[in-house]
């Protein structure tokens, strides 16, 4: 086999320019695909991190039916204290869960005593919220980076619209689940940056203030955001949690809880899927490019060496060895293209990281693209290229191996 490799490599070096052009074409294709995967992967990672680490959490648990009405933040679909305790106990028993943050969400009126507008508010336990969405504090653009009782963090659009600033006193008025209205004064302790996605323009207050405004006799929770130790285990943990919680039934015998990953809560998931679809089609283009270029070269190689094939066949070379010889040539071209392409891609990704390309997404600006190549992508793309190269060489190789020696020797 080693000798066949040696002969195959020598055959490739016989037409240096053609081999160089073909392998360059493959290398450039591999490079572009890997750089695209690295850049789009970085974009996806940044976006997912922004969404999950600054607001949404990796997954959320609601009372069944809440998500369908999430725009109206229905207080009637909050989880009871008893249900929330069960949920907390369940999550504490799952080692893959790093932190979770119960939230009371409601819609209300926000007034600076001159003007009034509507506001969506999250009542949170500050420590639990920060542990669950660690980028939360980085969203606070003005004021102090904490949430104390009697203070409120308001979204920057609201602050701009009502011309309020840190330290101002405002009033939040809300209707509770029984229909009675209550209000409470707050001091603005911070202006929070908006982010793209559901809840990205909400205000924040301490959960005790939220229960006070809503006049809750016992704690009721709208949602629990959950952070995992390993984001890669998202689906596994989600399924496990769902399986455990699905055993908790209400009086009608239906499950109480509804477990959803970020993918089912954020519209960005569709963008992420589009990026995946684009990546898939770019990989298809690479496959087509490799297939056509290798097949072209190998068809030419067989055509130019018909007499030679006749000679080696006449002196007793078995058809399968002739087949192997040409397959190895295709394989070697693929390997050469893949290796050079990988090296180029690693170099370009390194340069992109040096240059530090920034971009804006929604209201977030100055996000730095940090493309990175993982071994899996490199191996996967290389494997695709090499397999396609061998597949492309198959037809010409088969033709060569099936050639009648007497006809091949007669070829001029």
């Amino acid at each position: 086999m080693l000798k066949l490799f040696k002969i195959a490599v020598r055959n490739l070096s016989r037409y240096k320019r053609r081999t160089l052009l073909t392998s360059s074409l493959i290398a450039i294709g591999v490079m572009f695909v890997l750089v695209f995967i690295a850049a789009s992967g970085s974009f996806k990672y940044i976006m997912i991190s922004q969404i999950t680490d600054s607001m949404l959490g990796h997954l959320q648990v609601h009372k069944r039916g809440y998500v369908a009405s999430i725009d109206s933040l229905p207080l009637t679909l909050n989880l009871s204290e008893k249900a929330e305790k069960k949920l907390e106990k369940t999550m504490e028993d799952i080692p893959e869960i790093e932190a979770f943050s119960p939230r009371v969400k409601f819609g209300g009126m926000f007034s600076n005593f001159i003007e009034t507008t509507n506001i969506r508010v999250n009542g949170v336990y500050p420590e639990k919220e920060i542990a669950t969405v660690p980028l939360f504090l980085s969203r606070i653009k003005q004021g102090e980076k904490h949430i104390k009782e009697g203070e409120i963090l308001i979204p920057e659009l609201l602050a701009n619209g009502l011309k309020v600033k840190v330290g101002d006193t405002v009033v939040v008025i809300a209707t509770n689940r029984d229909g009675s209205v209550n209000g409470k004064q707050f001091v603005i302790n911070g202006i929070i940056e908006s982010v793209t996605g559901p809840g990205g323009r909400d205000g924040y207050m301490h959960i005790k203030d939220a229960t006070e405004i809503l006049r809750m006799d016992e704690m009721e929770i709208s949602e629990v955001a959950v952070r995992l130790k390993d984001f890669g285990k998202l689906n596994a943990v989600s399924n496990r949690l769902d399986e455990i919680l699905s055993k908790e039934l209400n009086k009608q015998g239906k499950p109480i809880f509804d477990v959803r990953t970020w993918e089912k809560l954020s519209p960005f998931y569709n963008i992420a899927r589009m990026i995946d679809v684009m990546t898939f089609f770019i990989k298809l283009m690479l496959i087509a490019m490799v297939l056509v270029s290798i097949m072209n070269v190998m068809i030419m190689a067989v055509f130019e060496r018909i007499r030679e094939i006749g000679t080696i066949s006449a002196i007793g070379t078995m058809p399968k060895k002739i087949l192997s010889l040409f397959l190895i040539e295709g394989f070697s071209l693929g390997v050469l293209g893949a290796v050079v392409g990988n090296i180029l891609a690693i170099g370009i990704v390194f340069l992109l990281n040096l240059v530090k390309i920034t971009f804006n997404f929604g209201r977030q600006s100055g996000l730095v693209l940090s493309p990175s190549l993982n071994t899996g992508d490199i191996l996967w793309i290389s494997a695709i290229v090499i397999i396609v190269s061998v597949a492309a060489a198959l037809q010409p190789a088969f033709k060569a191996s099936r050639m009648e020696p007497v006809e091949a020797l007669r070829h001029v």
């Binding site: 000798k3 066949l4 002969i7 020598r10 055959n11 070096s13 016989r14 007499r307 030679e308 006749g310 000679t311 080696i312 066949s313 006449a314 002196i315 007793g316 070379t317 078995m318 058809p319 060895k321 009648e404 020696p405 007497v406 020797l409």
Partner: protein, 234 residues
């Protein structure tokens, strides 16, 4: 016992609607360790006959036994294995593999066809290259040596597997007279040394004088009985 027995060999080529009878009911027998030539003008059927003996082609009718094997019955794979084990080929255009050196060209059948161990391979290749006088050129590529040298390498490649029969189609056609005689001499020397049967085709009357036996062919037919000749060295 004859090495080759041909009975009523007929070969018809079909080209479109035209049928060409390249060999017409040819019969002959060849003994082991012979030095034989099929002679005749272009289109007489020499190459067709060599192709049939070399299991490169199959007769349309008739039987052909080479080394007790009815070669008409062999499959593609069996024919390739038979050629690799029993036959050596020398071509008019030398047909050396251009990406292999002289040494590697001679080594090729042992390495790729017969899977001979490295040590034995080396000793057989070196020995044959010495015999054909090409040992000093062993690291050169075919495009770096002359036509005569190429044919000597081709002779070494044909003999390196210790075949029972070497088939040479117009081996001297592309060589000048002096080189042609030299190549024929080497072939005869190999025949004497290894007891190999050499069959070659030629239309060159000067070369015919060098063989022990020749079979004249015309229009696909053996036109006279086998003629015995002594050759220069007889």
């Amino acid at each position: 016992m004859s090495l080759i027995i041909a009975e009523n060999l007929t070969k018809i080529y079909t080209m479109g609607e035209i049928e060409v009878e390249a060999l017409k009911s040819v019969s002959f027998g060849i003994e082991p360790a012979s030095f034989i030539s099929f002679i005749g003008p272009s289109g007489s059927g020499k190459t067709t006959l060599l192709n049939l003996i070399g299991c490169l082609d199959k007769p349309t009718s008739g039987t052909l036994k080479v080394a007790d094997i009815n070669t008409s019955d062999l499959t593609r794979k069996e024919a390739a294995a038979f050629r690799g084990k029993n036959l050596g080929f020398i071509f008019q255009d030398f047909n050396l593999i251009p990406v292999l050196t002289v040494y590697e060209n001679v080594e090729y059948p042992l390495l790729i066809v017969q899977n001979v161990p490295a040590e034995e391979r080396k000793s057989r290749v070196i020995s044959l290259l010495k015999t054909v006088g090409m040992i000093d050129q062993k690291n050169k590529y075919p495009d770096q040596i002359s036509g005569g040298q190429k044919q000597r390498v081709a002779v070494a490649r044909a003999l390196v597997t210790n075949p029972r029969l070497v088939l040479a189609d117009e081996p001297t056609a592309n060589l000048d007279s002096k080189t042609a005689f030299m190549v024929i001499d080497i072939m005869r020397q190999m025949k004497e040394e290894f007891g190999v049967t050499f069959i070659f085709s030629t239309h060159d009357q000067k070369i015919v004088s060098e063989v022990e036996t020749f079979y004249p062919l015309q229009d696909g037919t053996l036109i006279s009985r086998t003629q015995e000749k002594g050759g220069r060295h007889a």
